[in-house]
């Protein structure tokens, strides 16, 4: 809405800025959040579908599965914007012969926390996080996304977030909105570090980002 569709050629930096503005608007808008409760909007339907589709374009190491028939585990930590929609689309669906399980994880903090540092996930949560193949990191008040990402560092878990600095902070994929469309950015370095091989086709669609300081 803030972006003029007649002028698609915008400086990337301006584009990102605009996207973040819109995302902020979207997230901040009470009406949007409120309407998401009974019936989620199109954006999250798309994101839910994307979340499932990512499985098809990423390759996990064999160690990521307990057994031959063990399912794909999509974990959601923090706020769940998808509601039952996600459960609906994965129901009776098999990807490469495996069923898909949705796990909603409660963000719990570790008891022993160093002073002055942000709270880290509890050991129990960390185990659960690491057991997910895809982890959607929603908004939490208790834990910072950065710490959740840090908890799964080196584990074959595809972290997906929505915040602007998610990939910079070590997340693998982050959603963003561009031209009223849901797009995503990927940090391939992190993915490689977590033994995940992301299809070039997927990379082709994504904006590529690196760990480090924010680009803007």
């Amino acid at each position: 809405m803030a972006i003029n569709p007649a002028k698609p050629r915008i400086h990337p930096r301006a584009r990102h800025a605009a996207a973040s503005v819109m995302l902020t608007l979207l997230l901040a808008h009470p009406a949007l959040i409120a309407s998401a409760e009974p019936e989620i909007n199109l954006e999250y339907k798309v994101k839910a579908a994307f979340l499932v589709n990512f499985i098809k374009f990423v390759k996990w190491p064999e160690t990521a599965f307990a057994g031959k028939d063990s399912p794909w585990v999509i974990g959601i930590v923090g706020d769940d914007p998808f509601g039952e929609y996600l459960d609906k689309i994965v129901k009776n669906k098999k990807i490469l012969g495996r069923k898909i399980t949705i796990r909603r994880l409660r963000p719990t903090c570790a008891k022993t926390n160093r002073k002055g540092e942000p709270p880290r996930p509890s050991a129990e949560l960390t185990d659960k996080l690491c057991a997910c193949h895809v982890l959607f990191v929603g908004h939490t008040r208790v834990l910072q996304a950065r710490n959740i990402i840090a908890a799964i560092n080196g584990k074959p878990t595809l972290s997906v977030g929505q915040s602007r600095d998610f990939t910079i902070a070590g997340g693998i994929i982050r959603f963003y909105i561009e031209n009223k469309k849901v797009r995503f950015a990927i940090n391939p370095d992190t993915a490689r570090a977590q033994q995940l091989r992301i299809s070039s086709k997927l990379l082709r669609l994504a904006k590529l980002e690196k760990t480090g300081k924010p680009q803007d």
Binding site: N53, K56, F57, I95, L96, F184, K201, L202, R204, L205
Partner: protein
Amino acid sequence: MPFFRNISIRRKLALTMTTASGLALGMACVSFVTYEYISFRNDVAHQLESMANIIGANSTAALSFDDRDSAREILAALRFQKSVAHAWLFDTRGKVFAEYGRKDPAKPNREPRIRPVGIYYDDNGLWVYQAVRLQGSGTIGTVILHSNLEELYLRIMDYVIAASFIAALAVMAAFLIGRKLQQSVVTPILDLADVARKVSQEHDYSVRARKATNDELGTLVSGFNEMLTQIQQQDQALRAARDELEDRVRARTMELEKEIEQRTRAQQELNDTAEELSRSNRELEQFAYAASHDLQEPLRKVQAFGDRLCSVYAERLDDRGRDYIARMQNAACRMQTLINDLLTFSRVTTKVEPFTSVDLNRVIRDVLSDMEVSIEETGAKVETGTLPTINADPTQMRQVFQNLIGNALKYRSPERSPLISITARSLDANHRTCPPENAAWWEIMVQDNGIGFDQKYAERVFEVFQRLHGRGQYEGSGVGLAVVRKIITRHQGVISARSSPGKGACFIINLKGPRATAS
């Protein structure tokens, strides 16, 4: 093709070769172009199919994540593929997800209808439908590629032009090489035709066709030459035979000419001799006539004075004297007869009457009437058959029969009374070697039962003064039969005698007369 039938064999061969090679090349070119067309079209189809596969594989993420821009980008890569005119990416709901089209204002992209996966050809060209599959979720869309085969047509056009050019070059090359090669075939044939023409026009059998090759043409040339040799030999033999014949004819002609000349000369000589003979004969006759005529005068005087001596001085002479005078007068009388006979003989040719129609029956009757006394005296019996009427001197005819009957009476047998038969018969033309013109030949026979004579004297009896008996036995001068022959000869007839001693004689006269039917 009357034109083809009449042109030279050289042109015929060239035409045949050019046509054959042109046809072969044309067919090869057509097959080549057709093959190229089909194979290129298949190539294009396969190319498009694999391209559709690649595009499909590349589009899975774009379709999965609803990224139309990316899908368009993927399709846009087709701009380097000239064979693809349009491309579409459809999603599972049958909606266009992305499309690509070459800029062609005349033909705006028309959305294709959904068809099962496969390759389709229609008026617009080639369509390839390919499913987009994603591992784990099956078909997630359809790729449609369209080629208007423009490139194919351009390429085929290039091929056609190139093929036509090559074919034209090849036909020209075939024509040129064929012209070289055909000379080995055509030259001997033309040589042969030339030789044949020379032979038929100039009749020169000595020419020979040149044998240049050892193939069927060589055999033909050899056969032709052999034939010519045979013809030449036959021709020479024929010429030789003709020349020989001509020589022989010439030689024979010369011989004949010589012979004719000889004969002519002989004839001339004969004629001369005959003339001479005739003249001398005539002179002789003239002389004989004149002599006998002139002899009469002194003889008459001898007789007159003898008569006067006898009548006036008989008493004064003694018997001896009178005997002398009687003998003298006797001799004079005999001489008188001789002279008369000679005159008669001469007159046959000198004193002539013109020929008239003479009835021989009447002549015989007159003669018998004249000789009635002699016939009665001798008691002879004369039998006469029917005689013809002929063209003759009547007096001489009378003389002939008078002499013949007289002879028959004179030389009668003393043992029996004479019997004379005079008969005549017509002779067929077959019996005579020289046929008369409009006249039959008659044979008149005078047969007697007299003393006859030896057949060896059959010719002698007709000679003048020739007598078979002494003067004492039979009187006569020996002129009668000679006169008869002379008369018959004058009448262009023939007389012959047949006899034997004691068996009578038969005189056969052949005379020309009217036909038997006319008598």
